[in-house]
Amino acid sequence: MTRGPQALPPSWLVMASLIPFVLVALPIGYVIVQGWQAGVGGILQNLIRPYTLNLLLNTLTIAVSVTVLAGLIAIAAAWGTERCDLPGRRWWRLAVALPLAIPAYVSSFAWSSLGPWFQEIQGAILILTFYSVPLVYLPVVAALRSLDPNFEDVARSLGHGRWRTFRRVVLPQIAPALGGSALLVAAHMLAEFGALSFLRVETFTTAIFDQYTAEFNNQAAALLSGVLMLICLPVAFAEARMRTRRRVARIGRGSARALVPIALGPLMPLAILGFVLLTILSFGVPIVTLGFWVWQGHSAGQGIERVLPALATTLGYALPGAVLTTIAAVPLVIATTHFRGRFAMLCDRLPYIVHGLPGIVVALAAVATAIGFLPAVYQTSGLVLLVYLVLFLPLAQSSVRASAELVPRELSDVARSLGKTPFQAFVLTILPNLLPGIGAALALTALQLMRELTATLLLAPAGVVTLATEFWNYTSDRAYGAAAPFAATLVLVSGIPVYVFTMRTLRLNDVR
């Protein structure tokens, strides 16, 4: 499908990849400069302490456990909805994807109010696992649906049992989708703050916030951010390795026959119970809590007139932000999937490293850069959109990549041989084939941008009010009744991109 690394990317592609590269490099530069000011002695003194070790342990425990558990649940759920004779599979698919619509801090608040057990590290793992399941489930489902069942038939005919067939034939084929999404979850967990602020677990991210809130110590915060970036490094590159190791090839889409679903038989009640439980735990509990606030809070109804304007502003930022982020992701993805090379690889990986940084660090980097070099753009909407791009580029990359890997580069060679410029050839041949992935990328980034808080608060023009900032404003005053309508609107509106993303991802590789 792809040629060797000797092929050079066209110049427009290089230029187009450089823009996001430079943007994403800025926060990294900021962290290094700030951290360096602490001096080598300061660095060692700050980092080599039992406290930092404890943070490291907690951070890694959460990231690894959540990733592994979410991966296992997602595979089981995907197998259930795609390969078994579960009744109402269409609906279960949506039910598993639905929790995407609920911000992590909302479900964390719901769970933490149930008791101290949920506020400890095991609670954090549970809450974040249920939050992350859809992010792994959807790509795995898409991959499962794109498999050619003939491979499995061959394995079975060679005497492999069902489990062995799964392990040796199915698993290697869904590994790129599984690995890619799992590592995205891992990077996300490293930066998670909102959900943990309701719990009693300290990680690098909460410690970074402590440095700002308690000590006004930007340098110490930068040092911790530096460690966080180092942890992200192997995560980012492991994801790339996972994909390049893929050696499953076939010509055409095969003559896919309709799959005969596996009869669950006596296991059926157990499977249904599993899906019901998953839906209740990941979706039911947070939604019921939201309703409870409205019913119980004395402040209910306050600020209700702001819901619609806040919704308009939220969309006014999230939609252009998603478009910009997706546009920036396309050249990066094409540069790495169609033309490999060290620099392309670096351009492609850098956003994943920054994705593991807390929003406050990226926002302060933007403050320093804009004030220092481009004061005219400081606290304009344009700057907010650029910071959104830096924060959420990997989400768009992973979605676009799923499409890009299915497009042979030779397509554009045909257009080139007919006299088109490289850019024309790209627009005419490659781009149309990327559309399903672009749709998924737009939906996923719009979904996350609607919840963004820190960068919006610090960088948007003064007076800008979004659903997330209003929710923060009322919960920080404990006016949960007043906060609930904003959260509920956010969940409802999120339902749209979640639906689009689910449908796009499911259709992406559909052979049926």
Partner: protein, 339 residues
């Protein structure tokens, strides 16, 4: 997918992208430069009431940027002399004191400073206290009898209270540490912090800690008074399981926290900024603020409508002016392994 569909999607996508970008660029214009820009970390409703009263009285427009106080302080520190802010209103005094130490604040009119007791403003006259809260113990009435409540903040560092209390390393905690340093000395403060780490439960936020007390998950928490009042407002005071407690006498655990405001040295509208600060300490300004939050006025002769116990019931040996940015607390907390 057919070709027609693809073309349709492509055109649709491109026009959507174009429209969104145009919409985005159209918003690029900055807020008007007229009037004052206020970075606000205090409760938004409180500051909004204050700003509305100020604009009504002077005709000067004020644009607010709302976020957490420490984040805003970090932002102003990054902005330096180019900060668009004229004023900073912080929920606590240490964030603004950290800007004072960086030399970013301007001098406040002596006439304004004279309006309130000196202990509530910066020693060098660069920030003023705007409202007062007390550092308190929140306790669950079903779990601790009032007679059994600890008599001193120092008890919290001892095994006697093992597993019975929660603490939060933010919003008022640094002042707590500094108060103990001032009264009992550095070694006592360090031992106290180590005890806290050993015997107490750390929470990631004051609201979460006081909710834990309310729900009976823990008996007591070191906190500020207004968290309990905001919970009382949401649930109704008569329905609460938790109550507030201050130590008897002039214990190091009794502290007055102030919300604090100051003017940036780089402000291009200093005359108006000075008027705003003076208005904050006027009767109209104070009344606007205390009507929206359970905090005490800094100006004598006014009473909070929230039914707060008289401030004179509590003696606080160390004042906000003594605390500064409370940066020394940082070293101690590190030494104790708390951060």
């Amino acid at each position: 997918m057919t070709k027609l569909n693809r073309r349709f999607l492509l055109q649709g996508g491109v026009s959507l992208a174009g429209a969104s970008l145009v919409a985005g660029v159209a918003r690029l214009g900055r807020a008007a430069d007229a009037g004052l820009t206020l970075y606000n970390g205090q409760h938004r409703a409180t500051t909004e009431a204050l700003v509305a009263a100020f604009t009504k009285s002077t005709g000067i427009q004020v644009t607010m940027r709302n976020a957490e106080s420490p984040e805003l302080a970090a932002q102003i520190a990054e902005e330096g002399a180019r900060s668009p802010a004229d004023l900073f209103f912080s929920e606590q005094s240490p964030p603004i004191a950290s800007l004072q130490e960086k030399g970013l604040l301007g001098q406040i009119d002596p006439a304004t400073l004279k309006l309130i007791p000196a202990k509530f403003s910066a020693k060098d006259g660069t920030w003023i206290g705007a409202s007062v809260r007390t550092r308190v113990i929140t306790y669950n009435k079903k779990m601790v009898a009032p007679a059994d409540l600890p008599k001193s903040i120092m008890d919290f560092g001892t095994a006697a209270l093992n597993g019975k209390f929660g603490y939060v390393k933010q919003d008022g905690f640094q002042e707590q540490v500094m108060s103990i340093v001032h009264i009992k000395g550095r070694d006592a403060a360090l031992a106290w912090l180590k005890g806290l780490k050993q015997y107490g439960r750390s929470y990631n936020g004051n609201r979460i800690a006081s909710t834990a007390v309310e729900n009976g998950e823990i008996a007591m928490a070191l906190s500020n008074n207004y968290y309990w009042y905001s919970l009382a407002k949401e649930k109704g005071a008569e329905n609460l399981n938790s109550a507030l407690y201050s130590f008897p006498g002039d214990d190091a655990g009794n502290i007055f926290n102030v919300s604090a405001a100051g003017m940036l040295k780089s402000s291009r509208n200093q005359a108006a900024a000075q008027r705003f600060l003076a208005f904050m300490l006027s009767q109209a300004g104070q009344e606007a603020m205390i009507a929206t939050t359970a905090e005490y006025p800094v100006l004598a002769g006014l009473t909070s409508p929230y039914g707060l116990p008289p401030l004179t019931n509590v003696t606080a040996p160390v004042s906000p002016a003594d605390m500064g940015s409370a940066a020394d607390a940082y070293g101690l907390e590190r030494e104790a392994g708390l951060i």
